[in-house]
Symmetry: C2
Subunit: 230 residues, 2 copies
Amino acid sequence: VQANVVVLPKADAFDFLLFCIRNPKPCPIVEVLEPGSVTPFRSAPEADMRTDVPLYRVYREGELIAEVPDIRDYWREDFVTFLIGCSYTTDGVLGAAGIRLRNLENDNSGPMFKTSVACEPAGRFSGPLVVSMRPMTPRDAIQATSITARLPRFHGAPVHIGDPAAIGISNIDEPDYGEPLPLLDGELPVFWGCGVTPQAVALESRTELMITHAPGHMFVTSIREAAEEV
Amino acid sequence: VQANVVVLPKADAFDFLLFCIRNPKPCPIVEVLEPGSVTPFRSAPEADMRTDVPLYRVYREGELIAEVPDIRDYWREDFVTFLIGCSYTTDGVLGAAGIRLRNLENDNSGPMFKTSVACEPAGRFSGPLVVSMRPMTPRDAIQATSITARLPRFHGAPVHIGDPAAIGISNIDEPDYGEPLPLLDGELPVFWGCGVTPQAVALESRTELMITHAPGHMFVTSIREAAEEV
């Protein structure tokens, strides 16, 4: 199980945790660490969150100030680390069920879009839902919906199937994040809540300091996908 | 849907929310309000949390200081209200499925026990899991497990079935809360995480101030049970 990482000062942690539980589809919580703790005892008990993410981004009041492989120089005792479910885990589960994932076939990072759907705000945190899109046949879309509905810790069931305009996406070939993945004949676009959402929302709220993983450099936990499928 | 109520100062709210998400079976979150907010916009948008619980208990550093029908005199702008799933909702769902609930037959409030199972701690909050017990035939126990596994917002699947001693209950006829309900021939005791847990844990941690509903005087939300069964 891979996880998206968000580190915030304690002063912002209650609002951010509340934002996550009010928006479980884009922000499924894998683990939240105690203030100052660097060890995710439940999901990776031998890890150190200051050094074991492959690449970090450091933001001050919404501006990127550093991209570094180690955050020991930035660490503070009031930092709270959030590990949030990542759609790469969903890909693993869907692939194992025999569902065709064209993003993986093409070594494509997959398209992600800001939508016109507002997240439920919490304190200082508010903003649009970001979704990932997978092109699927109707048959695969149904199977993928059934499977992911049982995986609330990995974004759960889709938030939308079909017409992109219905959720404010004007051009399906111009994603806001990731890479385009054109639909083939007979395919529907299937949209899931995306773990980019909480980072995007925290960035826009210009918190005093925020540290995240760099895109494509998620934290790898010790949890096996299969253990989460129950 | 009825809810257990816990009101705490903002200073304790992050730890308590983290305690709830780490212990979802005894502490399923129905809604958490913004600091100072008295309106549960998601579950009872016309309610006022200062007046609309039938009876409140006010605790200072773990000591009961008042039992009142209105908390406007105690209200502070830094208060955070937690609404936590209540097992009475589970009874409604199980009864509708044709499962025999002897607690309801006998107008019994149902037995609840402190167990030897520790909750996962979070910050200042730690303590034992409290469970409710329902006596059931094996057939009903299986059906009730299947049904409640799909209701994570109302304590989810049982935490234990059978031998009370395995979870540290020495005498099934002497509950720590509620009333005894002796087993009939052929019945198993079936144990669910109980919403008394977070109150008991918060009490033991002797927070500066805590307000809860009085036993048996839960908050009634506007959510219909049926809407939660999906």
